[in-house]
């Protein structure tokens, strides 16, 4: 991940502290330049390069540690000495992002927090100033983040500080500080009380033949995982009641083994294991700004213990009542634990200081932490010739070459195949399904009509209800579908029932999941124009779009466009799911087992089933009968009314019609209405005797075209045609095969067309160089 140069300075300005400019680039150790040529974090904060209220830019992380590293268990406990301590923990299960930097040398530390007069709050974990330097101008222990560390020039050596006594006060003579190898070989029995382990750095600082301890500055690992926002009230030197200022805190782990006349300046490095004591008093053990687990609030005393290191033993120090002497008793896995934790830095390391100074990177006693392809370290390591397999040895020259990108790892889980899982387990409804043969259907058809044979039309409705439970017998059939394959059956054959009517057909039921999954076949998409057809190797461009097109025809669904680019040299498979209930189908096109496309269609054919619509028939009979009855009544009434009309126009006193015209009209009307009524009666009688029997059809024809098409998937491939006169060898010799290669001109032979060439070093005139270039562009024989 490229270092953010806008924050940490342009690459050309990075500082090479302790490392000579004369060193080759793979021997230099660069640190950030925030603009003041000192690389100090303090400067960066004061000039708003790094803000206290925003997370740090982590482009300086070249790797991240998994949860096995001790640094993933760091807790931070801070106090300004008078207030209650605040415990801040790192995020659980997060990768530990870190940066290795250098702090300027100052062996003494003081308060944990300093607040600047300008209200810039920050934790002193990046520096510790003397109390007199609370204006932030002190350069003591300024942290200089590394922007680039040369793998081939950084060898780490774990040092062990141990004692022969576990009863403080401990005399100087009872303390040792030796490389890990020396401790294991010589001191595990005599000095079994391990107080601290630090990792010291060796490198070729001034183009030395051997590596030396990096004396100036103290290597430090800064843990860049964000701790929770600080909640404590901080002492402001200018305010009696400071505000709570939330900001992101980070922690730094730096170790210095010194103190006492015998051990001063023995080793400086990253604190890997061990406690620290920081006190206003001189600490005989030296100091380290570690994260802390616990505090003794009665004084400015802090004790640290790694959370995952529960082997700690704590003993009160009678000489310094406020201090606690903490140690780990030597145990068998101690060596392996130290090696594993050192490996987390992904650098070369060795327990033997002689190998660190003089050894080659593939020496048997030289080890190297493994950084995986994502830039994560897991505490694993190689050694000896195995180191040559690692990229820190063979490919990377510095930490900028690692693949690690801050922001965490990809949280997604990728899969390469798709499956078909039956999530529906035989859904049930109020229907029954039978799987029939063609002859079964014919027999069923006959049975159906036979059921109502001989039934009077007036009784047809009752019979329908009695046999089929429905007004219309046809309504007991929901559907009849035809599939282009045999349907699976379940159980044993049963009598096919329509309602309660037993047909003469015996058939198996279908009680499957309702969705059948079928493999419709597969094939390999092969580069037809072959590999290495036109010189060289690899598939030919003619096998890809726009030269070659591929279409997949799926029966009952349609056509799917297949991209040669997606499928070249891959297996194309078609899986089809069939919904037996609805007759729909979906074809899934898979590439090497992973579904990449789909197309749907209808695979079944609905077949119409017709039958007497009894309810309608009954209704028609009822209506016709009523009409006939009404017509009879009407006729009778009409005759009466006709007579009545004639009667009302007859003058009985005179024994004649009241008027000729009125009488004639009345008589005419009477005759007409009677005739009409008689005609109506005749019509209704005819209607009753000639009712059309209604039929109903269930289902309708759906297309049978699919059943007549090819019953397999086919891949239609359209390819270009080369001219018949094409000869590959002649073509290559006179035109050349298309390529894109870079190299020295002498590395090419045969017909060659050059697009660009750097003629620096050719002692030719300008005109000649132009001639050369033009000739090369036109093609030459080398």
């Amino acid at each position: 991940m490229a270092v953010n140069e806008s924050i940490y300075g342009l690459k050309a300005t990075w500082r090479t502290d302790n490392f000579s400019e004369n060193n080759s680039d793979d021997l230099k150790h660069y640190s950030a330049n925030f603009g003041n040529n000192s690389g100090q974090i303090l400067y960066a904060i004061r000039n708003n390069k790094l803000k206290v209220n925003t997370p740090w830019d982590k482009s300086i992380c070249y790797a991240a540690m998994d949860n096995g590293s001790v640094f993933s268990k760091v807790t931070f406990c801070a106090s300004n000495g008078t207030n209650a301590p605040n415990v801040l923990t790192t995020e659980n299960n997060a990768l530990t992002e870190f940066n290795i930097g250098i702090t300027n040398r100052n062996p003494y530390t003081n308060k944990q927090y300093n607040i600047l007069k300008d209200k810039s709050y920050y934790t002193t974990m990046f520096w510790a100033s003397n109390s007199t330097a609370t204006d932030g101008t002190s350069t003591d222990r300024e942290f200089c983040p590394s922007t680039s560390i040369a793998f081939k020039n950084m060898v780490l050596v774990p040092y062990v500080l141990a004692t022969s006594s576990n009863t403080p006060p401990i005399a100087d003579n009872d303390k040792i500080c030796v490389p890990l190898k020396d401790y294991i070989d010589t001191y595990t029995l005599t000095h079994p009380y391990i107080v601290r382990v630090i990792v010291s750095f060796y490198g070729k600082t001034f183009a030395n033949l051997t590596r030396t301890s990096i004396a100036k500055g103290i290597p430090t690992v800064a843990i860049l995982n964000q701790l929770p926002k600080l909640c404590a009230k901080l002492n402001d030197i200018n305010e009696s009641t400071p505000d709570v200022r939330p900001f992101y805190t980070y922690t730094m782990c730096r170790g210095f083994i010194g103190g006492g006349s015998g051990l001063r300046n023995v080793a400086r490095g990253i604190n890997l294991f061990g406690e620290c004591q920081t006190d206003t008093d001189v600490d005989v053990w030296g100091y380290s700004t570690n994260a802390y687990l616990d505090t003794d609030t009665s004084s400015n005393h802090y004790m640290s213990a790694w959370l995952n290191y529960n082997k700690y033993v704590h003993v009160k120090n009678p000489e310094y009542p406020k201090k606690i002497f903490s140690y780990i008793p030597y145990y068998n896995d101690f060596y392996e634990d130290v090696m594993t934790q050192t490996a987390y830095f992904g650098m070369f390391f060795t327990p033997d200081v002689d190998v660190a100074v003089n050894g080659d990177l593939n020496d048997n006693a030289m080890y190297c932490g493994i950084i995986d392809d994502s830039g994560i370290t897991h505490g694993q390591y190689y050694h000896g010739a195995q180191n040559e397999l690692l990229k820190q040895y063979s490919e990377w020259s510095n930490t900028n070459d690692t693949p690690y990108k801050s922001g965490g790892t990809d949280p997604n889980t990728y899969r390469n195949t798709s499956g078909f899982n039956n999530v529906i387990n035989a859904p049930r409804d109020f229907n029954k399904r039978y799987v029939l043969s063609g002859s079964d259907v014919n027999t069923l058809n006959a049975d159906f009509f036979a059921a109502l044979s001989g039934v009077q039309t007036s009784e047809i409705l009752d019979k329908a209800m009695e046999k089929f439970y429905v007004n219309n017998p046809i309504d007991c059939i929901v559907s009849l579908k035809w599939f282009p394959f045999s349907l699976p059956t379940f159980g044993s054959a049963q009598t096919v029932k329509l309602g309660v009517y037993n047909t003469t057909v015996s058939a198996n039921q279908y009680v499957g999941s309702g969705v059948e999954v079928h493999n419709l076949g597969e094939c390999l998409i092969y580069p037809h124009f072959g590999m290495g057809v036109f010189g060289g190797s690899g598939p030919c461009f003619l096998d890809y779009e726009p030269y070659t097109h591929i279409e997949l025809i799926v029966p009952y669904c349609g056509t799917v466009k297949i991209s040669p680019s997606d499928f070249m040299n891959c297996t194309l498979r078609v899986m089809m799911t069939v919904d037996v209930y609805s007759g729909s189908c979906t074809a899934y096109i898979q590439r090497n087992g992973l579904t990449v496309d789909s197309i749907s269609g209808t695979i079944s054919v609905d077949l119409p089933v017709s039958g007497v619509e009894a309810a309608t028939l009954d209704s028609q009979v009822h209506t016709a009968t009523n009409n006939f009855k009404m017509a009879k009544v009407q006729e009778a009434m009409t005759v009466v009314s006709s007579a009545l009309r004639v009667a009302t126009n007859f003058d009985t006193s005179k024994g004649q019609m009241i008027s000729i015209s009125g009488g004639a009209n009345a008589l005419a009307d009477a005759v007409m209405s009677t005739a009409v009524a008689s005609e109506n009666l005749a019509n209704t009688k005819y209607d009753l005797e000639h009712i059309n029997v209604p039929f109903k059809t269930v289902g309708s024809n759906s297309g049978l075209n699919g059943a007549k098409a090819e019953q397999f998937c086919s891949l239609n491939i359209t390819r270009p045609v080369l001219h018949s006169g094409f000869n590959a060898d002649t073509y290559g010799h006179t035109v050349g095969y298309a390529c894109l290669e870079n190299g020295l001109l002498s590395s090419f032979t045969g017909y060659t067309v050059v697009s660009d060439i750097d003629l620096t070093g050719v002692n030719a005139t300008a005109d000649e160089k132009n001639m050369i270039i033009n000739t090369l562009k036109g093609g030459v024989y080398l």
Partner: protein, 153 residues
């Protein structure tokens, strides 16, 4: 000035012509008189007549360190004018060989995946073929292809 004359059988775009040159002058070359004004890229020389010289088409001038295409013209007085044009390709072949270049076509390498627009593909002519994917599902002569759905328990 010394001049060497050759018969050159190589095409102009052959970079290293050494195996295609047949010298017609003595190994030590022949004396020649350059005409004025003298050009390094297009010099002219006058040499004494020799029957083989007039057929030469290639020259080398050690003093210039360059090779030339040349044409020989007969002059009066037993002389031949040799008119030269520099062959920059062969003249600087040795130093040019160590130059970094990008090659986009080559007789031996070829990267098939790079589209080659010069390939003689017949426009509008295509070849259509089909691959059948075998399956055992579809069978229009299936024994039980009908599904009857009826009401009822």
């Amino acid at each position: 000035m010394i001049l060497h004359l050759y018969n050159n059988a190589a095409a102009n775009n052959v970079a290293n012509k050494s195996t295609y040159l047949t010298e017609r002058t003595p190994v030590t070359g022949i004396d020649c008189v350059p005409t004025m004004p003298l050009s390094i890229l297009q010099p002219e020389f006058i040499v004494s007549y020799d029957g083989t010289y007039s057929l030469c088409n290639y020259a080398y001038v050690p003093a210039f360190g360059r090779y030339y295409y040349c044409t020989c013209t007969l002059l009066t007085g037993g002389r031949i004018r040799v008119s030269c044009t520099v062959d920059a390709l062969y003249s600087h072949y040795a130093s040019m060989s160590n130059c970094k270049c990008t090659v986009i076509r080559n007789e031996n390498i070829g990267i098939n995946i790079i589209p080659d627009t010069q390939l003689p593909v017949i426009p509008n002519a295509v070849d259509i073929t089909s691959i059948e994917l075998e399956n055992s599902l579809f069978n229009t002569a299936a024994l039980t292809p009908y599904l009857l759905t009826v009401i009822g328990a």
